[in-house]
């Protein structure tokens, strides 16, 4: 979506136009959902958080000042939701297995299941910030600067999170980490 059209839709949405907001949802849902799917693991949970994040974004649209991209702003809201939910989850007993988290990923080829499980396990063991950085930047949906903005981290920290996180994920797959970042 071109920036002028996005600005127009944003203006309309701020005045209560749900149709304009719906078009913004359509424009940004792939990136936001991809980020959350990589972060959370379960597609259903990821989409649930994404929907809550978009609904919350509607309420705080007036706080968006245009300094970052709207996509980054929505991802920031989503990340806060995920972190809050994760704290609540930690208070409960872990009841889901890695297999059930993969149940709803229909696009997965059967031969990739062991790799996906190993990656998911490695991802779950990473600190929250590092995990979020990888979820944003590995798919090249977000730049390092955007990730720093969303996660409120220094750019250098984002870069080091990527290098270390990538090495952990590659080690989980039994691959030698790449030497270059």
């Amino acid at each position: 979506m071109d920036p002028a059209e996005e600005a127009r839709l944003l203006r309309l949405a701020r005045h209560g136009d749900m149709r304009a907001f719906g078009r913004l949802v359509d424009a940004h849902q792939p990136a936001v959902r991809a980020f959350l799917r990589r972060l959370v693991g379960s597609y259903a949970d990821a989409d649930d958080i994404a929907q809550e994040a978009f609904a919350r974004t509607w309420e705080v649209l007036n706080r968006y000042d245009g300094r970052s991209s709207l996509r980054s702003f929505i991802c920031g809201v989503a990340f806060q939701y995920w972190r809050r939910g994760r704290r609540a989850d930690n208070r409960r007993l872990a009841r889901d297995t890695a297999y059930s988290a993969l149940e709803d990923s229909h696009t997965e080829a059967p031969q990739n299941t062991p790799e996906r499980l190993a990656l998911r396990r490695a991802m779950d063991e990473l600190p929250a910030d590092q995990r979020a950085v990888l979820a944003m930047c590995l798919g090249q949906d977000f730049t390092h600067a955007e990730a720093a903005e969303v996660l409120k981290l220094p750019l250098g920290t984002v870069k080091s999170h990527i290098v270390r996180g990538r090495a952990r994920l590659q080690a989980a797959l039994g691959l030698a980490p790449e030497t270059s970042s």
Binding site: M18, F21, G22, V25, D26, A27, Q29, P30, A31, R33, A34, R37, R38, V40, G41, Y43, A46, D47, A50, Q51, E52, F54, A55, R56, W58, E59, S105, T107, N112, E115, R116, L119, R120, M123, L134, A135, C137, L138, G139, Q140, D141, R166, L169, Q170, L173, L175, E178
Partner: protein, 108 residues
């Protein structure tokens, strides 16, 4: 398998096309949250109104005014409150008879 895009694909993929169902769910959540917020505000208003009435009664008693002197005032206030509630129910309530009638007359 070792490049970033492959890792990202294994971790989770973006939907190929924007999903209209997802949009509808988002808009439904927006409406539900707005309704919840409205109900919360309405509840607070009701609590505030009843608290004010209770405080007024206490103040009247504190001022040693006999309750008999306040009966006409309280009767009028009660009648006005009942009319207000009735009007709200007719305009915004589950049947909203008045609002529907206005729509019918406007379209005629």
């Amino acid at each position: 398998m070792s490049d970033d895009l492959s890792l990202a694909a294994l971790l989770g993929e973006a939907p190929k096309t924007p999903d209209p169902g997802f949009r509808f769910d988002v808009l439904a959540r927006v409406s539900a949250r707005a309704a919840r917020r409205e109900a919360w505000t309405r509840g607070l208003m009701q609590v505030a109104a009843f608290t004010a009435v209770g405080l007024l009664a206490a103040l009247v008693q504190f001022a040693s005014v006999s309750s008999g002197a306040w009966i006409p005032v309280l009767s009028v206030a009660g009648a006005l409150a009942a009319s207000g509630v009735f009007a709200l129910v007719v305009i915004q309530g589950p049947k909203a008879a008045l609002a529907r009638a206005r729509t019918v007359f406007a379209s005629a």
